[in-house]
Symmetry: C2
Subunit: 690 residues, 2 copies
C-alpha cells in the first residue's frame, strides 16, 4: 500500500494522501484502494454491467442506458448539439424543451452517434513491434499510423464493431477499444434550457446549483427501440452525505502526466491563445445574438460552448499559474529525474525530458499557425470544414488504408460519413459572421501583407471575401457533398467550388504544419514511453493514464467543503431553486420557466436537487451516470465547481468537487412538473409500459 501511495504521489501529484483521485481504466480498476479504503470489492460482473450500461456521445459527452427499451439519459448541454440541429425558428426545442409522449413522437437526431464499450485489448507490443528501430520521427510516425489503421480495420472486419486504437500514458501503451455503435438515436425528453442551465454562465462551474441538466434519448435498431441487456436501475432516492459513489464516463482530456516543459508551453502559449480566441468568439456571438431572437437561437449552442470553454480554460490557466499546483509538480519531476541519473538502463528516460522540451519548443513555435491553418480557425464556418473534408477525401481515399490521414482510415469511415452527410441546418448569416471574423483574425495574426493572407483575401476585405465565399459555395447542399465524395479528386476539382478552392489554396501550408506536428508528437510519444517504462520499473505499474475520451471509472464520496470560511453543504433542494430565483429577483438567467412557477405547489420542495462529490471528473464526463455500491443510478454528472478546473493538471479535493443532478429530482420533475409519468415509470421499472 505504501508503495502504491508513493506512486500516486509522485505520478499524479495528489495533494491529500487519501484523495479520491483517478480516472481508472475499466481493465485496470483501483481494486486495492476500494478495498482498503472503502472495504468495497466490485465484482467483474459489477464492472462489466456498469461498462456496458455506459454510453459515449460522439458529439462530446457521456450518458447511460436506464431502461431495457433503449432509453438513455445524458445532460441537456450534451444533448444541446442535437437539440440545436433539430430546432427551427418555429420550434425551438433547445430553448423550450421537448416531450415525446409515445415512441411515435420521438424524433430522430440528425447526426448523433453513440458508442458502447464492448471490450478492451492491449495491443502495445504489436504497435511497437511494427516501428522500425533507429529511424527518423517521420518514418516512425508513418509506420505507427499504418499499424494502427491495420489493427483497427482488422478488428472491424472481424467484429463489425467500431474499433479504435487508443494511445494511453502519452504513448506508454496502446489499447484497442471495441464499441457497439448506435446511429439511430431519437430525442425523447428535454426540459427548458432555462432550468437545465439555470443561472446560466454566471453560475456555470459554481456551487450551490439548481440545474435540471438532463436530456433523454432512445437508441433504436432496425427502426424499433433497441433492446438492451445492460442498463442502470434507477434509484428513487439518490445518495446520502458521505456515501461512496462511482462515476462511469468519458473524461475528454487531462494533462496530468505532461512534463514541466509541456505544461509551460500550455501555460505560456496554447492556453492564452485559446482563451483569446474564445473571448473573441464569445463577444462576436454574444453581440450578434443580442440583436434579435432568431440570431440568438441560431448561435445558441456555439455561444454556450464558447462561454463554457472560456470559463473552464480561465480556471485551467489559473491552475497553471498557481505555485501551489506547479511547484510540487516541478519538484516531483526533478526528484524523479534525480532517481534516473547514472542508471544506464534509464538513460533513455532521462534523455526523454530534453527531447520533449525540444519537441515542445518546435510545436509551440508553430502552434498559432497550426491552429489557424490546419486547425481551421482562420476559416471558422461549417462550409469550410465540409469543403476541406471533401477536398481531402478526394485525395486520401484512393490511398492504401494505412497511408491516409488518420480521419480517412477505413475504421473511421462510418463516423466521418455521418458527420459529412448530416442534414443539420447551416445558416448563411452566421457563416458569414464567423468567417468574416476569423479571416480578420488571420490577417491580424500574419499581417495583411503576408503572401498567403493576400491570396486568401483575394484583394477583398474580410467581410466581402466571406460574403463571396459563403454565397458562392454549394457545400451546404448534402446532395452536392455526396456527389463529390462519391466521385473522385477530379470531380472535386471540376466543381470549381470557391470554398473548396480556398481549402485547396491553404492545404499545402496546412499539411506541412500537420506533418511537423505529427513528427514532433511521435518524438514525444517515444519519449513518454521511455519515461513510462522507467516509472513502472521504479514506482510500480499502478495508476491511471491521462484522460482520452474513453471510458473511465472514478470513485468518491458525497461531501461538502469550506469556501471563504463558510461550509458549502453537499446538497441543494428544489426549494433552494425558488429561493435563489427570489434572491436574484427572477432576473435572467435566474428566472424560472413558467411551468416551474406554476407547478411549485405540486412539488416536494425538500427533494434533493444537485449534489457534490469528490469523484475525479473533467469535461467529457458531462452526462456520466453516478452509481452507488449496488450499481444503481443515483445521479448524473453535469459540472465541476471552479476549484475543480485545475484538475486538468492535478486532482485536489480540498475544495474541488464534481456536481450532479440527484436522481430523486429527476423523478420529481418528470412526475410533478412535466407530467411525464410514462418516463418516470420507465425509469423506475427499467422498461416502458405502453
Amino acid at each position: 500500500m505504501k508503495r502504491l501511495l508513493l506512486a500516486l504521489l509522485s505520478l499524479a501529484l495528489v495533494f491529500a494522501a487519501n484523495a479520491d483521485e483517478g480516472m481508472w481504466l475499466f481493465n485496470q480498476p483501483p481494486r486495492e484502494i476500494l478495498q482498503s479504503r472503502f472495504q468495497f470489492a466490485p465484482s467483474d460482473a459489477w464492472l462489466e454491467h456498469l461498462q456496458k450500461s455506459s454510453v459515449r456521445f460522439n458529439s462530446g459527452g457521456s450518458g447511460s442506458f436506464v431502461s431495457a427499451d433503449g432509453l438513455l439519459i445524458s445532460n441537456h448541454h450534451v444533448g444541446a448539439d442535437a437539440l440545436q440541429k433539430l430546432s427551427t425558428q418555429e420550434k425551438n426545442f433547445l430553448r423550450d424543451g421537448f416531450h415525446a409522449q409515445s415512441f411515435a413522437e420521438e424524433i430522430k437526431c440528425l447526426d448523433l452517434e453513440l458508442n458502447v464499450l464492448d471490450s478492451i485489448e492491449d495491443v502495445t507490443s504489436r504497435v511497437n513491434a511494427a516501428i522500425p528501430k533507429a529511424v527518423d520521427a517521420s518514418t516512425a510516425f508513418l509506420a505507427r499510423r499504418k499499424i494502427i489503421a491495420e489493427i483497427e480495420k482488422e478488428s472491424q472486419d472481424k467484429t463489425s464493431m467500431r474499433s479504435d486504437v487508443v494511445t494511453l500514458w502519452q504513448g506508454g501503451a496502446y489499447h484497442l477499444y471495441r464499441y457497439k455503435r448506435f446511429t439511430d438515436v431519437r430525442l425523447v425528453f428535454a426540459p427548458e434550457q432555462q432550468i437545465a442551465f439555470y443561472g446560466g454562465d454566471p453560475d456555470n462551474f459554481e456551487f450551490p446549483r439548481y440545474d435540471l441538466d438532463i436530456c433523454l434519448f432512445r437508441a433504436y435498431e432496425n427502426g424499433k427501440p433497441a433492446t438492451v441487456t445492460n442498463f442502470l436501475r434507477f434509484s428513487a432516492s439518490g445518495p446520502k452525505d458521505g456515501d461512496l459513489v462511482f462515476v462511469s464516463g468519458h473524461p475528454g482530456h487531462t494533462s496530468r502526466l505532461l512534463t514541466m516543459s509541456e505544461l509551460e508551453g500550455l501555460r505560456d502559449e496554447t492556453m492564452p491563445f485559446n482563451l483569446s480566441t474564445l473571448k473573441r468568439l464569445e463577444v462576436l456571438l454574444g453581440n450578434w445574438s443580442a440583436r434579435n431572437d432568431e440570431n440568438a437561437r441560431r448561435a445558441r449552442k456555439l455561444l454556450f460552448s464558447a462561454q463554457n470553454a472560456r470559463k473552464a480554460n480561465d480556471g485551467r490557466l489559473a491552475g497553471l499559474l498557481d505555485p501551489d499546483l506547479m511547484n510540487p509538480k516541478s519538484k516531483a519531476e526533478s526528484d524523479f529525474k534525480t532517481k534516473l541519473v547514472g542508471q544506464s538502463q534509464y538513460a533513455d528516460a532521462l534523455a526523454a525530458y530534453d527531447k520533449i522540451t525540444e519537441a515542445t519548443k518546435i510545436l509551440m513555435a508553430q502552434s498559432r499557425r497550426h491552429a489557424l491553418l490546419e486547425g481551421g480557425q482562420a476559416f471558422n464556418c461549417d462550409s469550410f470544414r465540409i469543403a476541406r473534408t471533401l477536398l481531402r477525401a478526394g485525395e486520401e481515399r484512393p490511398k492504401p488504408n494505412g497511408e491516409r490521414l488518420r480521419e480517412f482510415s477505413e475504421s473511421g469511415k462510418t463516423s466521418l460519413e455521418i458527420a459529412l452527410f448530416s442534414e443539420k441546418p447551416i445558416y448563411t448569416d452566421l457563416e458569414i459572421l464567423t468567417l468574416s471574423d476569423s479571416l480578420t483574425f488571420l490577417a491580424t495574426q500574419f499581417g495583411a501583407n503576408d503572401p498567403l493572407v493576400k491570396k486568401v483575401l483575394a484583394g477583398k476585405s474580410p467581410r466581402d471575401r466571406a460574403v463571396e465565399l459563403i454565397t458562392g459555395t454549394k457545400v451546404r447542399d448534402v446532395a452536392f457533398r455526396k456527389h463529390l465524395y462519391e466521385g473522385s479528386a477530379a470531380a472535386v476539382t471540376a466543381a470549381h467550388d470557391p470554398m473548396i478552392e480556398l481549402a485547396r489554396l491553404v492545404d499545402p501550408d496546412a499539411r506541412a504544419l500537420r506533418k511537423v506536428a505529427e513528427e514532433q508528437d511521435e518524438i514525444k510519444q517515444q519519449a513518454h514511453a521511455a519515461i513510462s517504462r522507467a516509472r513502472n520499473a521504479l514506482l510500480g505499474t499502478s495508476g491511471y493514464p491521462d484522460a482520452t475520451f474513453t471510458l473511465r471509472l472514478s470513485f468518491g464520496t458525497v461531501k461538502g467543503y469550506e469556501e471563504d470560511k463558510k461550509t458549502v453543504l453537499p446538497f441543494t433542494t428544489l426549494g433552494g431553486l425558488y429561493a435563489r430565483a427570489k434572491e436574484m429577483k427572477n432576473r435572467p438567467p435566474f428566472d424560472l420557466p413558467i411551468l416551474w412557477e406554476k407547478r411549485k405547489s405540486h412539488l416536494n420542495l425538500k427533494t434533493p436537487f444537485n449534489f457534490v462529490s469528490t469523484c475525479d471528473i473533467i469535461g467529457g464526463n458531462s452526462g456520466s451516470p453516478v452509481v452507488n455500491r449496488a450499481g444503481e443510478f443515483i445521479g448524473i454528472i453535469f459540472d465541476g465547481n471552479l476549484q475543480s478546473l485545475p484538475w486538468d493538471y492535478a486532482y485536489n479535493d480540498k475544495q474541488g468537487r464534481a456536481v450532479s443532478v440527484d436522481s430523486a429530482a429527476i423523478l420529481e420533475a418528470l412526475n410533478n412538473v412535466y407530467g411525464a409519468r410514462e418516463l418516470a415509470g420507465e425509469l423506475l421499472k427499467g422498461r416502458r409500459i405502453q
Copy 2:
C-alpha cells in the same frame, strides 16, 4: 478652388469631391468651401460665439453652454463617468437618472474639469527655434519638452488660464490653446440609462436610433451658478432634411495623415492587440456583472466603455483591412512621393517616409511591452494608477519644470490634482477582479518564467497577489494620497505601501520603454514636419490637421443614405421608439423605462427624435452641439453609424453619418416625460426663471 480640392484629395483621401469633410481649426475655418458650396460666410463673431459656447469635458467628451446661468448639455454617456462616481448601491443615478428641481438639489461632481477655449496662438516658430540643429532624437525631445513646458507655464502665469501647447499636423505646427477652466460642476439632470442608451450595445453605432443621450450640468463659480456670456440659443424645432448644420466639439483622435507604414503598424499590431484586450475586459466585466445587481452597478461604466471601444475598434480595423480605403491611400502616398523625387528642396520630406517606417518598426516591436508596463495594462486597477502617480510625483516634482515627465509640468498641476484627490468610490472587489486578470495577462504575454513577471508575482498566483496588493495598499485613502503627494520622495518610500512598491519595481522598465517611445515619436514629428512643409509648398496650406481632442468645426447636411438597397431616412421620431420596443418585444436592452411607458399618451409621437448628418466627427465629439446657420442649438451629437467608424483613417459620406439627438425631442421629453418644465424653460429662455 481646383487647387484646394486637389489638396484635399491628395491629403485626406476624400472619396467624393464635394464631401463635407473636415475637422477644421477655429483659427483656420473652411471659409472658401462654406462660401462656394453653401453661400455661407460665418462672421468672426459667429465663430467666436460658437467657440466660447463650446465646452470640453476633460473626462473625454464635448458639450455646450445653453443658458446664461451656466447650464450646459452633454451626452449621458459623457456624463456617465460623473454619474457612476456619484452613485451608490442605494442611489443609482447612472441607471435610474437624476433631476434637480432647484439649484440647491444640484450635486457637485467629484472630479470633473471643464475647459472653454478662449484663444489660440501659433507658437510653431518658437518651439522649433528651441530645438538645437543636428542633435540626436533624445536631445531634441528633451529640448522640445522643455520649451513647451516653458511656453505653457509662462502663459498660465500671465493669464491664469489653462494653457496647453497642442501638436498639430503630427508635428507640422504647434499652437498654444488657452482655456477657461471650471472645476465646480454640478449634476442637474440625467434620464434613465435605458432611454439614454436605448438599444444598448446591439444598437450602438447603428441607425435608425431612438436615444435620449443627454445629460445636463451646471458650471459654478464661487459657489454660485456661473454667469456665462456665450451660450447657445436653443431651437425648439431642430433641423430639416437637407439643412446645412455645424458641429463644434472635440474630436479625440484621427489618423488620416499617417503614412502607410504607420497605418500598417496600427492594422497589424496596435489594433489587434487593443481589440484582444478590450474583448478580454468585456468578457471579464460582463460575466462579473451578471452575477448580481451590485456587481453590475459597480462595473457599469467600465463595461460600457469596453464595449463601446470594442465596437468602434472592430469598425476601424475593418477599415484598415478594406482595400477600398487603403488602396487609394497607398496610391496617394506614392504619387506624392513621386512628386518629391529629384527635388533637393524636398529631400528631407522624401527621406521622412523611411524615417517614419523605421521609427514605426521600433515602436511596434515594443508596443505590447509598452502598453503593459508604461501603459499600465498589466496592472489594470485604480489603485495602481494612483500608486504610480504618487511614486512619480515624488520623483518628478523636485525637478525643474521643463525636465519633468510631461504630466507633472506646472501647467498640468491643477488637472493632475483634481484627478489624484478625487473622492470617487474605488471598489475592492472590482479592483481585485481587474488586477487578477491583468496580472494573468502579463504572465501569459511575457511567459511566467520571465524575471520581471516573477518579481511582480512574488511567488504567488495572480489572484493571490492581487488580493495581497489590493487589501494591503492604502492609496484608496485620499488623506494618505495627500500626505504622500505633499511630502517628498522619501515620504513615499517610507510608506512601504505594497502597490507603490510594485509601481517602483516596474518603473525602470516602464521609463525605459517610454524613453524609446518619446525618441521615436520625436523622429516621427520631425519627419512629419518635413512632409508637412513639402505638402504646403506643393499643394497649398488649406486643410485641417488630424484630431487632437481640441476644438474643431465640422459642417455637413442633414441627409439619409442607402443601405442594403433600402433608403435610411435621416430622422426618427418618438413614435418610432415605441414601435422599436414592440418589434423587439420589450426585451432588454430594447425595453422602455416605466416613465416612458406611462407618459406615452402625453407625447407628440411625431416629434423628431434622432437624426443623421454628414458632419465629420469621431470619438470625443460625443456631446458636441449641432447648430444651424443662425448658431442655434438644434441637436447634440451622440454617435456615428457603423459606416463612419473608418473615418479614423478617411472620411467618406457615401453611407457614413454622424448621429444626433434632435433639440425638439429634448424639449418634449423634459416637458412631457420628466415634468422638468423649469429646465425646458431655461433652455428656451436662455436663463433660469426661479
